[in-house]
């Protein structure tokens, strides 16, 4: 059976058995969606999203000996990806604070009002998304950007399906409110 036709679990088992093509096939199968989710979670900056997804796959590779094939590789992948996104976001916040201090000291930080005025809808959405709490953002990004089912999101976040729906509708309400012109 060609690698393309194998299930994720089969590919993980083959990768564990030192078949390198199996892990590459998994990366090829999931990288686009993972990059899109990371891109939405982290906002502009393709390099960061790519780094985060790369770290995610490396984490998965390291954990191969412990992987349990239960038909939920997608949820497993996105759980690790969300953790990696949080690590990247924390690092970015620390860096931004540091940069702010430096910029203030050197008094060279230019104002950004013009950029704010030039935002398009996409950027409005990104900005609103960035202001959502992590719990709501995770659900809305996994649902609409990652195209995961409610059950997959529930397994990824380890919460009941009903909670997934409540958070999704709450997230949409908050996004809409945040994007409403004042």
């Amino acid at each position: 059976m060609p690698a393309d036709a194998r299930s994720d679990d089969d590919l993980m088992l083959l990768a564990r058995a030192n078949v390198p093509a199996a892990f590459s096939a998994l990366v090829a199968r999931h990288q686009r969606r993972a990059l899109r989710v990371a891109g939405r979670q982290l906002g502009p900056g393709a390099i960061t999203a790519a780094d985060v997804v790369q770290n995610t796959f490396i984490d998965i590779y390291r954990a191969l000996p412990r992987y349990q094939p239960r038909g939920r590789f997608g949820s497993y992948l996105f759980r690790i990806l969300l953790n990696q996104c949080r690590i990247a976001q924390r690092a970015a916040r620390i860096e931004a604070r540091h940069r702010q201090r430096t910029d203030t000291a050197l008094a060279v930080a230019p104002p950004h009002e013009s950029a704010v005025l030039a935002r398009e809808r996409e950027r409005d959405t990104e900005a609103a998304l960035a202001r959502l709490g992590a719990k709501l953002r995770d659900v809305v990004v996994l649902r609409y950007t990652g195209e995961l089912s409610y059950d997959e999101i529930a397994a990824t976040l380890e919460i009941p399906t009903g909670t997934v729906k409540r958070r999704l509708f709450d997230a949409m309400k908050k996004l809409r409110t945040l994007m409403e012109p004042t």
Partner: protein
């Protein structure tokens, strides 16, 4: 979900029109028929509701929009390089395969004398004695089970009659199975799978052909001395040692349950965790395609 009203942020939301959360549920198709009717009435009569639904749909579409500058990145080469740089201890290793052992001739004779197996064996050529030496029972809890239950595997080559699986088979050969399920308490379910030299699990019964499915054990007929299973199944088997395993159980199992157990306890000597389960293992050697037997 219950219809909520007035959760919008504009002054108009104080009316009885549905709130934003309800509209978000409507956009997702997660409202009841009666809620749908109420919302559609509100849509017909309120410009605000129409605007909110359009905005919610636009947000959803924006979030679903591809990010070509990010998605066009091919990470595979970077990841392969990063894996190659990992310290060897951090790299994936094949699960440890337990040292293989052969039953002694004496134990083989005991097995051969056991009624259930003997019923299958009697029809077999002398070569079967070699097979019996390779038959291992991984479940120590049920010597009685070994006596009454078991599978026999047959190798099916293109254009040739089926013959009992011996010490070798070709990669392109198919396998056919029969089972015995006798005794005072016959088993209720059976699964047959094989683990090849790469560690890949290949399913014979139940058939596991489509990703996303999770087929369950085959129900068994009690009192069967030699029941043939209908299909000749061919898999892409890696050259090297092949372990064919038959798992007899009292309860139905699913493919993912068994694979989860295999991932942790892959060795053929591991005891299946299901009550009174009996696992029979038959070993053979897969030769490369086109190799002479």
């Amino acid at each position: 979900m219950r219809l909520r009203s007035g959760t919008g942020s504009s002054p108009e939301s104080r009316d009885e029109a549905p709130g934003l959360e309800t509209l978000a549920a409507y956009v997702e198709g997660e409202v009841t028929p009666s809620e749908t009717t109420a919302i559609e009435a509100a849509l017909a009569g309120s410009a605000r509701v129409r605007r909110e639904v359009a905005e919610l749909r636009a947000i959803r579409a924006t979030l679903a929009r591809p990010l070509p500058e990010i998605e066009s990145i091919d990470l595979a080469p970077r990841i392969e390089q990063a894996i190659a740089r990992l310290p060897s201890g951090a790299r994936a290793v094949a699960p440890e395969r337990r040292r293989r052992w052969s039953l002694t001739l004496g134990l083989a004779a005991v097995l051969a004398g056991a009624a259930g197996v003997a019923l299958m064996v009697r029809t077999r050529a002398p070569a079967l004695e070699t097979d019996l030496m390779r038959v291992k029972a991984a479940s120590p809890a049920t010597p009685e089970a070994q006596r009454w239950a078991g599978v026999q595997a047959f190798r099916v080559s293109a254009g040739e009659a089926a013959e009992p699986l011996g010490t070798r088979l070709r990669a392109e050969d198919g396998l056919l199975f029969s089972y015995a399920n006798l005794g005072p308490r016959p088993f209720a379910y059976l699964m047959i799978f094989a683990i090849d030299a790469r560690g890949a699990v290949h399913w014979y019964y139940p058939a596991y052909e489509r990703t996303g499915t999770n087929p369950a054990s085959l129900p068994l007929r009690g009192g069967a001395a030699r029941a043939m299973l209908p299909d000749v199944v061919r898999h892409d088997l890696a050259p090297g040692l092949l372990e064919v395993r038959a798992l007899f159980t009292r309860q139905p199992l699913t493919v993912t349950e068994v694979e989860a157990w295999l991932a942790v306890h892959g060795g053929s000597a591991a005891t299946p965790p299901w009550p009174e389960a009996y696992q029979q293992t038959i070993e053979s050697e897969v030769e490369s395609s086109g190799a002479k037997r």
